[in-house]
Amino acid sequence: MATPKELSDFLAAVERRAFKQTAYAVRDDHAALDIVQDAMMKLAEKYGDHPAGEFPMLFQRILQNTMRDFWRRQKVRNLWTTLLSSFGGNDADGEDRDPLETIDVEDDSDEPSAQLARSQTIRLIERALEKLPARQREAFVLRYWEEMDVAETAKIMGCSDGSVKTHCSRAVHALAIELKKQGLDKLGLSSAIFSK
């Protein structure tokens, strides 16, 4: 059985990564914080009696499932919103809606012009990661960021080892292409893949 200190240390070590990973997936920082908190509570409640060595895998599995629950709820909510808005007509709404609000602007206002190239690179990578398909992002994050092996990643994702390798490979290529579009190949991230 894990002690409260072991749980606290483990959560302290993974919470920031978990938050950022979730934020890339759901694209909403507040929702990401809620999801991470839910996952932490579930780990403590349901798996607190497991040894601390099992926490990384259990936590990742809980986190991925909590994200999926979030997407499901969002899907249902969006469906109802679409149905209700189409039922109610869009005359009144159309007047109130500002088209500028729905445009996906690049939020660079909080980044000072003198910020380091590293920060800009990270921002570009984050955007590229957000654009990845969910399964590819999940495989990439688990395999490379959480440093899990192929079998562990496959177990968490509920697929075969081969699928994990395929998802990871596609994710890296998609990221490389996306970053090349942004001119990131000139920043020396990896000249090898871009020259292919």
């Binding site: 409260p4 749980l7 920082d29 607190g48 990270i122 990578i125 960021w145 990871c168 990896s190 090898a192």
Partner: protein
């Protein structure tokens, strides 16, 4: 002879493909590592509000675990000595065994006290009822006190 050549060519192709595949894998790994390094760096720099929120979430989870473990320990203690009623019965039984005379005296005293209280309440109640009857009657109270009244009533 031709077949042998073909086999050699195929083997060469396979070796080349294997080489390309492994070099691709290495390059992929390298890119992934570079990207992850930058992402890890970014993850360390979150806002103080987000940091506080994560700290609060972590504390909630740890407190929950502490509660659950305390609950499990207390449940384990009760289970060791049987269920709660068994525990109470055993302890109450021990008390009565050790203080048999005292317990019997207490029970008898309580019964006597209850008996006298009921008696006292009943007597007072009867007295009040008889007084009320006399005062509310058609005849004056002196009529019931006069011994000659009954004799007079009989003759009339």
């Amino acid at each position: 002879m031709n077949m042998h050549k073909d086999n050699m060519t195929n083997e060469k192709n396979i070796n080349l493909m294997d080489g390309n595949a492994s070099s691709n894998l290495v390059v992929e790994e390298q890119i992934a590592r570079n990207i992850v390094e930058l992402l890890s760096d970014r993850a360390q720099r979150i806002s103080s509000a987000e940091e506080q929120r994560l700290l609060a979430a972590r504390n909630l989870a740890v407190n929950r675990l502490v509660d659950l473990q305390a609950q499990a320990i207390s449940e384990h203690g009760i289970n060791q000595s049987g269920h709660v009623l068994g525990w109470f019965g055993r302890h109450a039984g021990q008390y009565f065994e050790q203080h048999r005379v005292m317990s019997a005296t207490l029970v008898v005293g309580a019964m006597l006290l209850t008996f006298f209280a009921v008696q006292q309440f009943g007597f007072n109640n009867n007295l009040e009822n008889s007084d009320a009857f006399l005062l509310a009657s058609d005849l004056p109270p002196e009529a019931y006190a006069d011994k000659g009244f009954d004799a007079w009533l009989d003759t009339n």
